[in-house]
Symmetry: C2
Subunit: 326 residues, 2 copies
C-alpha cells in the first residue's frame, strides 16, 4: 500500500496532542489554513528548504532529516525570541521510489518530525506533497507579544556579545564525514539533531538588543548583526566556547578554531546585551540550563576584529571567513 | 557575475511599489518576518511547490513558471475569499548552471513573478534560495475580515453549483503538448498564465456557502466540497461551460468533455450558493466581468451524479475520474 499525502498528514495529526488552539480556525484539508492571532500578538514567519545531496546525504536517516528540518526553522524563530505555533510542510518525493521505500522513508521522517513538533506544541496547518527530487521545505510560524521580537538591528556600542552553548561541533562532524574519518556519536548528534534554543530566545526578550542564530558560522552570522545594527565588534577568539567532544575529535588547533569561528549548522544563539541587562541575561540562561558565554563587545567602529585574551589583534587562517560547509 | 539570492530579493523589492504596509513590521533580511494583522482580521495561508519535470517542462519559459507559481497559490486564497498580502519564496537552482544561465533564468523568473505580485499588491517577506534540482515553493498569506472566509464545508442541499469562466483549456493544451500536436496560443496561455479569480472570490463573501478552486479537475474538486460538506450533487454535464478556444482545438466531443470535467490546472472557482443569494452572486460575477455558470445542484443524497439536460443520468467515459494531467 502506498503511503500517501493523506496518510502522512493523518500520521502527523494523530501523533500530535489534541490541539486546544483557539487561534487556529481552520487546519489542514481545505484550500488554505486560517489563523487569528490574539490582539497584541505579532506573528513571526520563517522558511527553510533542505535538499538531498546539498543539506543532507541522500542515504541519511529520514528521522534525522525530519528533526533537522524542524530544528533549523525553529532556530530562526528562537533568534527572534518567538514562541512556535504552526507550520506548513512541502515534500517532494522521487517518483521512482517503490511503495515500500516511500512508506519506510515517510514513517522514519515522521519519527523525526513528531517529537520536536510535540515538544514545542506545534500544529501542522498545511503543505504540499508532490513528485520530484527529494526535497523538504518547512515554513514555521511563531508568535511574540507585540514589540518583543528581537531582530538583528538593535546592537549598540558597548553591548556584550553572548553566545549560547558551544560552536564548531557540527562543522567538525561534517568535515569528518566528508573525509571518511571516524566521527564520534556526540559530534554526529550535534550535526544531525541540533537543538533550537527556543526557551533561551524567549527568555532574552527585553534583555537582548539584537540576536541571530548561528547557522552559517559564528563570525559570518555576527557580521549580519553588525551590518543590520551599523556597528562593529571585537571578538576574543579565546573566549569562543568549544565543547569537550570537539576537543576530543583529534583536530589541530587551527582546524578547531576554524570550525568554531566559521563552521555552520550549530544553531546556537548569538546575541548582544547591554551592560545593564547582562546579569539578568546570564541568569535567564542559567534558568534554561544553557551556558551563555561573553565572547566580545560591540563597538562603534565598523568591522569585525578578532583579538586574543590580551586584546591584541589576531589574524585568522586563510579561508577562515568562508562557509566551512559549502 | 552571479545573480545571487540577494540580487533576486533586491530585484523583486525594487520592482514592487514602495510598501505602505503598516501590518508588515519586519520584511525580508532578518531571521524571520514579523506581521501583525489588525484586530478582527484573520490570516489565510496556503503553499504550493512546483518541480521541473513534474509541474513544468524543464525548458519552459521561467517567466511563465514565475507567473504560474504565484497564480496557483493566489487561486487557493481566492477560493477562501481572501485578499492576498504577503508571500515567501523558496527556490532551488541547479548548482551546475553557468552564471549567465542562472542570471538569465532568474531575470525571466522575475519578469513573471513581478506583474502578478504587483497586480495583487503582494509583498515578498521571506524565503530561501539554495542549490538543488530546479524547484520553487511559494507560501502565500492573505487576510479576511473575521468569519468571512469561505471553506469547502458549508454546502447544503438545494444550493446551486456555480463555476467561473470555463474549464478544460489547460488540460487540452497539456494533452496537445504531450502528444506533439500544434496547440493554439490561446490554449497555451490558459495553461501557462492562469488567472486566479481573486476579485470574484472576495465578492462571494457572504454569498457562497462553500468554494474551491479547480486545480485537480472539476469533478474531483467538487467531490472535495461534497465530502467536506457531507452532501451529494447532480451536475448537468451539458451546462459545464467550455471555451471557444477549446471547441476550436479539434478534439472529439468525448475528449473535450474529459478535459472539461476531469482536466486540471484551470484555476476557476467552483462554489455553492443558496437560492436566496443566487441573484447577488451572479451580479457580483458580472461586476467582476467573469461569467458564472450554474452547472448543478447540491443534494442531500451522498455521491456525485452526472446528468444530461433532461435530468437523465449519464455515464462518464472510462478514466474520466482520473487526473488528466498526471
Amino acid at each position: 500500500m502506498t503511503f500517501t499525502e493523506f496518510d502522512l498528514i493523518a500520521a502527523i495529526q494523530q501523533g500530535l496532542p489534541q490541539s486546544n488552539d483557539e487561534q487556529l480556525l481552520l487546519g489542514i484539508g481545505d484550500d488554505a489554513a486560517i489563523v487569528q492571532p490574539t490582539v497584541g500578538e505579532q506573528l513571526v514567519i520563517s522558511t527553510d528548504t533542505m535538499n538531498a545531496g546539498v543539506h543532507f546525504f541522500p542515504d541519511d536517516n529520514a528521522a534525522d532529516i525530519g528533526h533537522k528540518l524542524v530544528a533549523v526553522n525553529l532556530s530562526d524563530l528562537a533568534a527572534m525570541a518567538a514562541t512556535p505555533r504552526w507550520c506548513l510542510l512541502n515534500l517532494s518525493l522521487p517518483a521512482d521510489w517503490s511503495a515500500s521505500q516511500r512508506s519506510n522513508w515517510l514513517c522514519a521522517l515522521i519519527d523525526g518530525l513528531l517529537p520536536i513538533m510535540q515538544q514545542h506544541a506545534m500544529t501542522l496547518i498545511g503543505g504540499d506533497t508532490t513528485s520530484g527530487t527529494l526535497s523538504l521545505t518547512l515554513t514555521a510560524i511563531g508568535s511574540v507579544p507585540a514589540g518583543s521580537a528581537v531582530t538583528r538591528a538593535g546592537a549598540a556600542a558597548g553591548d556584550h556579545i553572548l553566545l549560547s552553548g558551544h560552536v564548531g561541533d557540527a562543522a567538525a562532524a561534517l568535515h569528518g564525514l566528508k573525509h571518511g574519518a571516524v566521527v564520534s556519536a556526540a559530534l554526529l548528534h550535534r550535526l544531525r539533531r541540533p537543538t533550537p534554543r527556543l526557551e533561551l530566545g524567549q527568555a532574552l526578550r527585553g534583555l537582548a538588543s539584537a540576536m541571530i542564530d548561528v547557522s552559517d558560522g559564528l563570525l559570518a552570522d555576527l557580521q549580519h548583526i553588525l551590518q543590520a545594527s551599523a556597528v562593529g565588534a571585537s571578538v576574543c577568539v579565546e573566549d569562543v566556547p568549544m565543547s569537550p567532544v570537539l576537543a576530543a575529535a583529534g583536530m589541530d588547533n587551527a582546524e578547531m578554531q576554524r570550525c568554531a569561528l566559521s563552521g555552520g549548522d550549530d544553531y546556537e544563539l548569538c546575541c548582544c546585551v547591554p551592560d545593564r541587562h547582562l546579569a539578568a541575561a546570564l541568569q535567564a540562561a542559567q534558568h534554561c540550563s544553557i551556558k551563555l558565554s561573553c565572547i566580545g563587545r560591540i563597538e562603534a567602529e565598523p568591522g569585525l576584529r578578532c583579538i586574543d585574551a590580551a586584546g591584541e589583534p589576531i589574524k585568522l587562517p586563510q579561508g577562515g571567513w568562508q562557509h566551512f560547509h559549502d
